[in-house]
């Protein structure tokens, strides 16, 4: 198995008044390609922060972070952004679709940022709509969809750039149990197809879909 990313004593600290608080402390972790990891832990334990840092929306303040053999911690913004655009997709609890864009356009947007040609974009988005069975909804706007459908679009959008890694922050947190199950099964399916997934979750049932569970408490990995 190839190592996708590795963290070496990675720390994320913030200043709160005169105190320095470690949101994440000395995280050491290797993730292999094809893994499906579930991050668990109570609220405030640092799950989201860890996802954001891995996803390069946020950055560690200390320690090493290597992604596909490249040192992210010492990388320039431009290269980091390229790495991130090419290999990482995000799925959010609140879906975070762009309200003013319809389903088709929401899914297309990441491709725009990758400067992909129009004809190719059409093909890729079309495939994705097919695959998720939402062709009929492509002209609808997010507010016209149910939560589950919105999250489906969110996942489709995360997948459109063919990422190696999907980061999902409580992807089913706003969904009922039936919708949750469907989404988790979709993740499971994607994982089988080779996509590495890291999800943060409160739910034991959801965590069980993963191949490995990592428990966080007060910003540290607990064995």
């Amino acid at each position: 198995m190839n190592i996708l990313l590795s963290l070496n004593e990675a720390t994320r600290a913030v200043n709160s008044g005169s105190n320095r608080i470690n949101l994440l402390e000395d995280i050491t972790l290797n993730v292999n390609e094809g893994e499906f990891i579930s991050l668990m832990g109570p609220s405030g334990s640092g799950k989201s922060t860890l996802l954001n840092c891995i996803g390069m929306l946020d950055s560690f303040t200390d320690g090493g972070y290597t992604f596909l053999g490249q040192p992210v911690h010492s990388m320039k913004e431009k290269n980091r952004s390229k790495l991130y655009k090419d290999y990482i997709g995000f799925v959010f609890q609140a879906y975070h679709l762009i309200d003013e864009l319809n389903v088709w356009e929401n899914i297309e947007t990441p491709l725009l940022y990758k400067n992909i040609k129009s004809s190719e974009r059409k093909a890729l988005v079309g495939d994705m709509l097919d695959r998720f069975n939402i062709v009929g909804k492509k002209d609808l706007f997010p507010r016209q969809l149910s939560g589950g459908q919105q999250q489906l679009v969110g996942i489709a959008r995360a997948l459109i750039g063919k990422p190696k890694l999907i980061l999902a922050d409580e992807p089913t947190g706003n969904l009922n149990s039936k919708q949750s199950r469907e989404i988790m099964e979709l993740f499971s399916q994607l994982n089988k197809e080779g996509v590495t997934i890291i999800q943060a979750t409160h739910s034991e049932a959801n965590a069980a879909y993963g191949s490995r569970i990592i428990n966080l408490l007060d910003g540290k990995i607990v064995p």
Partner: protein
């Protein structure tokens, strides 16, 4: 990509109709105002650009000093021409002597029409690049020739070929039409040159002109020159500056300086103060340029404020885009393209507004601006204008919105910081500072005009008309005409004058009198008048009497105005003599005896003190105007009809024309009134735009605080308390703007008023008016939203949580 951006922008526009309307209409109005001002400035700056030799044409000006005051004038003496040709001819391509452009009757067949024209030397044709469309290339060769402008030829000859036809000038001289030149378009000097006749005709025409040939002191002519390409205006001025002083020892005491006024300065920089160029219309160009920029900035501020105020709504989108791979620069580009789209829509609207309002604007500004459809520069300027506006309006919001941290935004913990509203507040203060300064400025301009209009004129200008003496036929008829006019019942009194009532055409010096200070160089406004001058104008005598037929000696009498008595330092003036300085000559002019002193009356600028003036009895038929005091007991139209009939009966060949003196007087305020009416419009626009922005912000704030208002209401707050709560922040900003704007306006308007000797004070009422107006308007603007929010049912706002 761009398509995606525009799509978002467009959907946002449709979704937030109120904001879109405020943004687009505010920007459109601002842009339209700026475009109109831009067109106006372009028009002003392109004055005289029609002439091919624009860069090398100049007029010869003269500075002369009198008791330490230097006056600048374009009137020059005839011998100057010969001196220039003899000693400095190598500097000039052309030297063109010219008379003043003056109305003359041209008669052909039955048609006898009044046209403006000049007598000029032949060089004018090449100098002004007159385009000869019919006839001889040089139409000024023969003594009795006349060149007509195309429009003049058309009016006189219709479709006939005018070349070779004989016209009658003033019904007495026969002139042959030699050529027709293309009209000089509006917005150029000489655009009212409707015909040209040879200078050599002019100089043989009347004795005084002939005699002026060697009179260095007779400044009654004009000279235009075109300098050679290899020299400069300054260089030529340096060479000719002392030519008059050197050649005329008697004139040297006035320290005459001859210099070139380049054509490019004729229109924009035609004011001289103490012999030094001191501006002119260029000040208005700057003034309106600044106002235009400010109006545009105000509109941009609206855009900035509304975009940043709504930032929380756009923040999520920014976070999502960043999390799916957007770089900050791409977001900046997205927001800029969004503002570009809005500016583009506004421009289209502004374009329509300009097209619709151009006629009205022309009217107001006394311009003939034509929309420059075919001027590629205009289109380039428009494109630049769109980009500049988009960047002005869009860059701060783009930088601000694109800066959001996606982690914070997406977590939902994003709240605009405590100080995020500060730039917005500063911008609102800036908007109202400008608006208030404009309000105060406009009020002061209007006050100044009104103040000067209220200034006592010193004569009765109502129902007074002046009839120009247009023909030699009038000669010697004034007493006869007076009798007939009075008998007709339409006129109660009549007097002739050598200058119109509202101007002075002649200033004289070279007098001597008892008590004249040693070395005093007097400069007196001089007018020759007939017997009933004082009665006709309704002047107030302070001492002595007016001219009277009962005193034969009045043919050498003179009336002074009050200022002249003080100026000349004459005590007990009545009966004192004023002599020509030449009284030692063998044949001296008879001395003038002072018979009366009149109260000052305004002849020239209503903003300046009345000049020292002497009114001599006209013994030599110097009359240029018949002044008629119409019968107050009859209607004006009746009077005019009767008067016209009397003139027609006596001078059947001379078309009757007249002017109302009060209208002529009113014309003195026109330039300032034009500034005032333009300033008023742009001030209203500025206030409107500022209030539009305030309205937008208020509605946004009310919306943002809906929940707070609901809670407060449930807790028992009254509508009034909520209204105060919501309004006071804005009113505070307006009051801060008042505090900043008032002193700025005070300083600037004090400076502006300096150019008037007779000027109003800036009283506290101006500020009180401007301030209460601004507070009231902004309160009204804000209150609509505040009261709407305060009266909403709290159940609705709280339930939505």
């Amino acid at each position: 990509m761009l398509k995606n951006y525009f799509k978002i922008a467009f959907r946002n526009l449709l979704k937030n109709k109120v904001y879109s309307f405020i943004n687009i209409s505010g920007l459109a109005i601002g842009m339209a105002a700026t475009m109109l001002i831009g067109l106006w400035i372009y028009d002003e700056l392109s004055y005289n650009k029609h002439f091919e030799n624009y860069d090398t044409i100049a007029q010869i000006y003269q500075n002369e000093s009198n008791n330490g005051d230097t006056e600048t004038s374009e009137a020059i003496p005839r011998p100057l021409e010969f001196a220039l040709r003899e000693a400095h001819n190598d500097n000039f391509k052309h030297i063109v002597m010219s008379s003043w452009n003056f109305p003359w009757y041209l008669k052909y067949d039955e048609k006898n029409i009044n046209f403006l024209g000049s007598f000029m030397q032949e060089g004018v044709i090449d100098m002004l690049s007159l385009k000869i469309i019919n006839g001889k290339p040089n139409g000024l060769k023969d003594l009795n020739s006349i060149m007509l402008a195309e429009s003049t030829a058309e009016k006189l000859f219709g479709n006939e070929d005018p070349i070779g036809k004989i016209l009658k000038l003033s019904d007495s001289f026969e002139m042959e039409v030699t050529s027709v030149y293309e009209d000089i378009p509006d917005n150029n000097s000489f655009s009212d040159l409707e015909f040209v006749m040879p200078w050599k005709f002019y100089i043989t025409w009347q004795d005084w002109i002939r005699e002026a040939e060697d009179h260095w002191g007779n400044n009654s002519f004009q000279a235009f020159v075109q300098i050679n390409d290899n020299t400069t205006m300054e260089a030529v001025t340096n060479k000719i500056i002392n030519v008059k002083k050197e050649r005329s020892p008697e004139e040297a005491e006035f320290n005459p300086e001859i210099f070139l006024a380049p054509m490019k300065d004729w229109h924009l920089r035609d004011t001289y103060e103490n012999g030094v160029q001191s501006g002119g219309r260029i000040e208005n160009v700057w003034l309106f340029g600044i106002i235009g920029t400010f109006v545009l900035l105000l509109a941009c501020i609206n855009f900035i404020n509304l975009s940043t105020a709504r930032s929380e709504k756009r923040a999520t989108e920014v976070g999502i885009r960043k999390s799916i791979g957007s770089h900050r620069s791409q977001l900046i580009f997205q927001f800029l393209s969004e503002s570009f789209l809005i500016v583009l829509l506004s421009f289209v609207l502004a374009f329509g507004i300009v097209l619709l309002s151009l006629d009205g604007f022309n009217n107001l500004a006394a311009k003939q601006i034509v929309f420059p459809w075919t001027n590629y520069q205009f289109w380039i300027a428009s494109i630049l204008f769109i980009f500049i506006t988009a960047i002005l309006a869009g860059s701060y919001p783009a930088l601000y919105l694109s800066s959001f941290n996606p982690v914070a935004v997406l977590k939902g913990t994003f709240k605009a910081g405590k100080y995020s509203a500060l730039p917005r507040k500063i911008l609102v203060v800036a908007q109202f500072t400008v608006s208030i300064a404009l309000i105060i400025g406009t009020i002061v301009v209007i006050n100044q005009i009104q103040y000067s209009k209220d200034r006592p004129v010193g004569y009765d200008k109502d129902s007074l008309i002046q009839v120009p003496v247009m023909s030699a036929e009038f000669s010697g008829k004034k007493d006869f005409m007076r009798m007939q006019l009075i008998e007709s019942g339409a006129v109660v009194e009549m007097a002739t004058t050598s200058s119109p009532t509202t101007n002075v055409w002649s200033n004289r010096s070279g007098y001597d009198w008892e008590g004249k200070p040693e070395g005093f160089q007097e400069d007196l406004a001089w007018t020759a008048v007939s017997y009933e001058f004082v009665e006709t104008l309704g002047l107030n005598l302070i001492e002595g009497r007016g001219f009277s037929r009962e005193f034969a000696s009045d043919s050498t009498a003179v009336i002074l105005n009050e200022t002249a008595v003080k100026y000349m330092n004459i005590e007990n003036p009545i009966g004192k003599l004023i002599r020509d300085s030449d009284y030692n000559d063998p044949d001296p002019a008879p001395p003038l005896k002072i018979v009366g002193v009149i109260q000052d009356y305004i002849v020239q600028s209503p903003y300046e003190p009345v000049k020292q003036a002497m009114y001599v009895f006209d013994a030599y038929e110097n009359e240029s105007y018949y002044n008629l005091r119409m019968n107050p007991d009859r209607s004006i139209s009746d009077n005019l009809e009767t008067i016209e009939a009397v003139f027609k009966r006596n001078f059947p060949n001379v078309p009757f024309s007249y002017q109302f003196v009060d209208e002529e007087y009113g014309a003195k305020f026109r330039a300032e009134e034009r500034v005032a009416s333009l300033a008023r419009i742009f001030t209203i626009l500025a206030i409107f735009i500022s209030c539009l922005g305030l309205f937008g912000l208020a509605s946004f704030i009310a919306e943002q605080r809906t929940k707070e208002i609901g809670v407060r209401k449930v807790l028992g707050a009254s509508v009034k308390q909520l209204w105060i709560l919501l309004s006071k922040d804005f009113i505070t900003l307006v009051i801060i703007a008042l505090v900043i704007g008032s002193p700025i306006a005070y300083y600037m308007m004090s400076q502006w008023l300096q150019k008037f000797s007779y000027r109003t004070d800036i009283s506290w009422t101006v500020f009180a008016l401007a301030c209460s107006g601004a507070v009231l308007i902004s309160l009204l603007t804000v209150s609509y939203q505040a009261i709407k929010a305060a009266t909403a049912n709290p159940v609705n706002s709280l339930r939505t949580e």
